[in-house]
């Protein structure tokens, strides 16, 4: 809906419009983050922003078309599933500016935003392995697709790195990059009950840290962790869980952030200022496009030593000393 941005710095007649993916505007994941970024940009530039929801894939094309006819200056589509619809629209409307979250750019008038979250997930894996008391950590996905499994790959590699460094044998339940077919998947991004079932099962298998990569489905995992009464914790994904799902903050060890909001905000701001958007954006540990969130309630429980190790690993990844193998990483452009 139309969001008037009364308190903008400069009343601008720039308008940015967003098309959500099927998760809807409050998926506590990339749709929500993108919208957050849109709103932030509205505040800072006075641009008008609004969004339309897609309730089925049939909505992608007409939603984009409708926004074009509404004369939006920038159309932001959220999610790689919309890549095709966006690039087709871009091709037939070469003067219209587009941006897309979670996809690289194909036509020149589309600005792609991608995130190498394997890097931050690697940190999360290392952290989880170090924090686990039972020697078992777990992860599951929403669907077996690269934007999801990239997190799981990074997480897995981080745990393996910890095992190598410390000569330990922490196990990862739910994901093995070598056997992607039998990874744990909820087959949904908004089925909390499924998330709870899967997490409950991991807990019963002995895992005490769970990393759900499944949008809203993950809330069920957080609920399961909360019910364990402090024995199990979770690592949230995409956003800082203590902000987007504050009711579960006490179980979030940290979050693997994918700074969609930031990227979208910058994109809209750049466009609103009339500057050229070209190529695409790749969020990394280096540029802050992805990273670990603060530990919040675990601040005191994470040993200082471990924090240092994490900082070191981060530098090593940035410098290329640690190579992440995941095949799902965006091909850097």
């Amino acid at each position: 809906p139309e969001e008037d941005s009364g308190s903008g710095t400069a009343a601008s007649d720039f308008s940015a419009c967003m098309v959500t993916d099927l998760g809807g505007i409050d998926d506590r994941s990339f749709n929500a983050s993108s919208w957050e970024g849109m709103q932030a940009a509205a505040k800072s530039t006075g641009a008008k922003v609004n969004y339309v929801v897609s309730t089925s894939e049939n909505d992608y094309v007409p939603n984009i078309t409708r926004l074009i006819s509404q004369k939006c200056d920038l159309i932001v589509s959220v999610g790689g599933l919309m890549a095709e619809a966006t690039s087709q629209a871009a091709k037939s409307n070469p003067d219209q500016k587009f941006a897309i979250v979670d996809s690289s750019s194909v036509p020149p008038n589309v600005y792609g935003m991608e995130f190498n979250t394997a890097q931050s997930s690697f940190l999360a894996g290392y952290l989880a392995a170090a924090m686990s008391k039972t020697g078992k950590v777990a992860t599951f996905g929403g669907l077996p697709i690269p934007p999801v499994t990239i997190f799981m790959d990074g997480f897995y590699e981080g745990v393996q790195y910890y095992n190598e460094q410390k000569d330990k044998d922490v196990k990862v339940l739910g994901w093995d990059p070598a056997k992607p077919k039998s990874g744990s998947m909820a087959n949904s991004f908004n089925d909390q009950a499924a998330g709870k079932r899967i997490a409950g099962n991991f807990i019963q298998q002995g895992a005490d840290i769970i990393f759900p990569v499944a949008g809203g489905t993950g809330l069920g995992a957080a609920a399961a962790a909360q019910e364990s009464g402090g024995k199990v914790s979770a690592i949230w994904v995409d956003t800082d869980g203590c902000v987007s799902a504050a009711q579960y903050c006490d179980v979030f060890l940290t979050s693997v952030m994918k700074s969609v909001a930031k990227a979208v905000q910058t994109t809209v701001e750049t466009a609103a200022k009339g500057q050229q958007l070209s190529g695409s954006y790749l969020g990394t540990l280096e540029n802050g496009g992805t990273g670990l969130a603060p530990f919040h309630q675990f601040e005191d429980k994470v040993p200082a030593e471990l924090k240092q190790e994490l900082e070191q690993i981060k530098q090593d990844i940035i410098s290329g000393k640690i190579k992440i193998k995941s095949a799902n990483q965006p091909k850097s452009s």
Binding site: E2, V61, Q70, L81, A85, P144, N187
Partner: protein, 426 residues
């Protein structure tokens, strides 16, 4: 054969009905008014739509924050509340009309002016196939709630042929379409066979088959055979350019050759039901299976054929989803069904399971869908309201006495949807 022996006494038993009193015919208008007041089906349908839109308006009002604020001081300044309500509703429904039929603001170019109509027709296309499918099964006494599954299997088949077959359009397109029909028909036929043979109720079986198809689809789109290696998303390889349904009115309007297929399907279904021996058999099996059997028809065969054809028509929904302009990929995705298998049921109900009624119902629902998007984009009213309105229309149409009662029409208490789907034992 034998001598004509009508007994003369029998003539006396024919009761003489008194001549109908002739009402003075004072103008067409009065006759029309009398006709409307009698509440024939079309009037009931129109009123049902009005009533559903009314309920929708109430929902828009009560859930609009500005309006509810204005109602907060209703007694101080009632005009505010009323104005706010009026604004909320008129903006929303105005946008609905603009999105579905014509937007005066966009009348500049022919393309822009035609866009709403093109959108409506594009949305209506799969609904026509689906409505025909469900309606045909209804006529044979079967409730095909398995459209979701059939259209998914149809879509899988059409996609597979679409990306494997490397041929010119004259071959590729028909082959892909036929594959979709065959996929849906087989899957529908499976439910029909389970009904005709072991006697498993089609409602339960088709619901279960929906889940199976959905899970199978999820498996396939991430399998080696289907998965598009160039796409990070769980999307199949796109079908070849040659196998896609061409646009009818230029590339910027979405209406495509699927509409022509839909018209062909309507003609075919009408012929099948009204002019073919198979259709006669299906209708008889649906209306009275005992009489059908006594007359030498095979009830099981009729049920299987009905589900095969119904499934084939549902397969065409999958075809139009993949080969048409609904999805930019022209490929399989997890949500390829877009809920059309269920919407089709409401279309068939509103269309009273007749081919022409189905077309009208599909156009109406297509318009609501297309307009609903505009309503969402321009007036910020959630598109979910369209589902509510669709459900209410069907509910009211199915209960003519309710509508007649509310509008004080005389009516004859005539049948609602008049559909033949039976209970569990039927």
């Amino acid at each position: 054969m034998s001598e004509q022996t009508a007994p003369s006494e029998a003539d006396q038993t024919v009761r003489q009905t008194p001549e109908k009193e002739r009402t003075p015919q004072s103008g067409r208008l009065r006759r029309l008014a009398a006709h409307v007041a009698a509440g024939p089906p079309w009037v009931v349908t129109v009123l049902a739509i009005a009533l559903a839109l009314l309920v929708g308006a109430v929902l828009i009002i009560v859930s609009d924050s500005e309006v509810t604020t204005a109602f907060g001081y209703f007694f101080a300044r009632p005009s505010d509340a009323l104005t706010a309500s009026w604004t909320a509703v008129s903006t929303a429904y105005g946008a609905l009309l603009k999105g579905a039929i014509f937007n005066p603001g966009n009348a500049g170019s022919a393309t822009a002016a035609l866009t709403p109509i093109s959108e409506t027709l594009t949305e209506a296309t799969p609904l026509i196939f689906g409505g025909l499918a469900v309606g045909l099964a209804f006529r044979a006494g079967l409730f095909n709630i398995g459209g979701q599954g059939q259209l998914i299997i149809g879509a899988i088949a059409t996609t597979w042929v679409g990306f494997t077959l490397d041929a010119p359009a004259v071959i590729a397109l028909p082959a892909a379409v036929l594959a979709g029909i065959a996929g849906g028909a087989l899957y529908g036929g499976l439910a029909g066979w389970l009904k005709a043979g072991p006697g498993a109720h089609e409602v339960i079986v088709t619901i279960m088959l929906n889940y199976v198809a959905y899970l199978l689809l999820g498996y396939l789109i991430s399998s080696e055979v289907f998965r598009d290696p160039d796409n990070p998303q769980p999307v199949s390889k796109p079908v070849a350019e040659a196998a896609r349904l061409p646009h009818l009115l230029g590339d910027s309007l979405r209406v495509n050759a699927g509409l022509l297929l839909a018209i062909a399907a309507v003609v075919f279904t009408w012929w099948l039901l009204n002019r073919s021996t198979l259709g006669f058999q299906l209708r008889t099996v649906g209306a009275n299976p005992h009489a059908a059997r006594t007359a030498g028809m095979s009830v099981g065969y009729g049920q299987i054929m009905a589900m095969v054809i119904s499934g084939g028509l549902m397969g065409l929904v999958g075809v139009s989803q993949v080969l048409g302009t609904a999805n930019a990929h022209n490929a399989l995705t997890q949500q390829i069904d877009a809920g059309l298998g269920f919407t089709a049921i409401t279309v068939a109900l509103l269309g009273r399971a007749s081919p022409l009624g189905t077309v009208a119902a599909a156009l109406l629902f297509g318009a609501l869908q297309a307009g609903g998007r505009e309503m969402q984009a321009a007036a910020g009213v959630s598109i979910e309201i369209v589902t509510v309105i669709q459900a209410l229309i069907v509910l009211f149409v199915a209960a003519p006495p309710l509508v007649r009662g509310l509008f004080r029409l005389r009516g004859d208490g005539g049948a609602g949807t008049g559909l033949l789907a039976k209970g569990w034992n039927g």
